[in-house]
Amino acid sequence: MVPALALEDITVTFVSRDGARYTAIKGTTLQVAPGEFVSVVGPTGCGKSTLLNVAVGLLQPSAGRIRVFGEALAGLNRKAGYLFQTEALMPWRTALDNVTAGLEFRGVERGAAARQASAWLQRVGLGGFGARYPHQLSGGMRKRVALAQTLILDPEIILMDEPFSALDIQTRQLMENELLELWSANRKSVVFITHDLEEAISLSDRVVVLSAGPEAHPIGEFDIDLPRPRDVAEIRLAPRFMELHSLIWRAMKDEVLKSYAQQQKQQ
């Protein structure tokens, strides 16, 4: 089967203005099957976001190839939706207009776009909030709008960069469950970046562990054989969850310590 997204031997080297080089990612290969939910975990600063920016085409890799459903990627990845870690909604548009944005850019007629968008707002639990501006919504609500904004375009690949990391734990688990529900209704390929191992395990089919930067690369892949549908709060208590957690944590621990030591050195 042709993978939905294939990163082949990706290396990303940043060159700063004073000529200093920093290789964030080195020789990374990652494949995501259609309909597969893959999480990438790793210590902070290991280049997880960089990897995602390469996958969506915002960043050109220094070496390596990206294939989307078998075709080499040139420019922006038109098959992908992207959920940002930070605020990405247009603050001058209402929630509804933010959700219609993608359709509008594609030339969908206004009325039809608005109808679709309000259906999506209903689906993410924001039925009555279409007329609100982003600043009038809570952090969790803004994430829901962003989710609707991305999913309304029905992308084949959904890239998520620590989308829930700024939310409090209850809101976060709520959002994780909603994400799983939306995803199982219409299975797309997902690459979910997080530094939270529990979040990664409870959501994914597969967890990829990245080494500490610089020159980050995958150091382990784990299939998550937990049954679906899952409740992210309950599944954390399952014995198999804990087994997987300690297994992956063992692989991750050295890298986390390494990254921590590097941060100490820099200070």
């Binding site: 922006l76 940002f84 247009m90 603050p91 594609r106 009038q136 809570s138 969790g140 809101t171």
Partner: protein, 274 residues
């Protein structure tokens, strides 16, 4: 809580009015030829000659409005202000967007922009009078040069400050370069333009009045110039009074427009967090 705040506000308004009346009273007492003995000037009428008399200033203002002689002048001044404001804003917006999105043009023109902005542009008024005549065109041109730079710098800044994430998100959602301009750059720049609206309307007004003052046949600036020519100090003050009142009025209209158009911007205490 609310009622105490609104009564505070009413009290504040009351004292502001009282202060205004007190200032007028001092002015009146100090300039009236009969109320006080002349303590500075040798002639009791000299104070009134130099500083005017508030009652006469108000009477003159009333005269202008009741007889209707002020209206054509006021209309010309306001028309010049509006034209200068609209043309200056449109030009500033267009050039600001162009330069902010075109690094080459921006680098090339940078010293010229800086030079033009540093130049005291009011001295262009005589040149504009030569180019455009003594009618409203020369005043509008002066106002435009004043408004343009304020809007231009704000648009330039606004485009530069567009959030990278918002921009990247719009791109990924499928926006073309044109759509980015219309749906991201312009709205972002507009918030900066509105922030400078008070300044630019004020300067458009300054451009109109100064232009009239330097040479014209109509307008409130012209009225003041005429009154000065005949040492009619009360009319000068009446002209200043009318200009101030209308500047305040314009400012109020701008505030109104601002609150209608910038509903999407958070204000203190309005944001809710979970």
């Amino acid at each position: 809580m609310r009622s105490s705040r609104s009564s505070n506000k009413a009290a504040l308004r009351f004292w502001q009015v009282v202060l205004f009346i007190v200032l007028l009273a001092i002015w009146h007492v100090a300039t009236s030829p009969t109320l006080l003995p002349p303590f500075y000037f040798d002639n009791p009428h000299k104070a009134a000659f130099f500083f005017g008399e508030p009652l006469k200033v108000l009477a003159r203002t009333w005269d202008w409005f009741s007889s209707g002689t002020i209206y054509p002048h006021l209309w010309v001044t306001l028309l010049e202000t509006m034209l200068a404001f609209v043309i200056g804003t449109a030009l500033g917006l267009a050039v600001g967007l162009w330069l902010a999105l075109s690094p080459v043009a921006s680098a090339l023109l940078d010293p010229y922009i800086k030079a033009l902005n540093s130049m005291p542009r009011v001295i262009l008024a005589p040149i504009f009078a030569v180019w455009f005549g003594l009618d409203i065109a020369s005043k509008v041109a002066l106002g435009v040069t004043l408004v343009f730079f304020i809007v231009f710098f704000n648009v330039y800044q606004g485009v530069r400050e567009v959030s990278y994430t918002v921009l990247a998100n719009a791109r990924i959602l499928g926006a073309s370069e044109r759509q980015l301009l219309r749906h991201v750059y312009v709205p972002s720049a507009m918030s900066w333009v509105f922030a400078s609206l008070h300044n630019s309307v004020g300067l458009a007004f300054v451009g109109a009045v100064v232009g009239e003052y330097l040479g014209s046949s109509r307008g409130v600036g012209y009225l003041i110039l005429q009154a000065e020519g005949t040492f009619d100090i009360n009319s000068v003050f009446a002209g200043i009074l009318v200009l101030t009142a209308f500047a305040l009025l314009l400012d109020w209209v701008v505030s109104l427009a601002e609150s209608r158009l910038l509903v999407w911007q958070p204000r203190g205490g309005e944001t809710e967090k979970m």
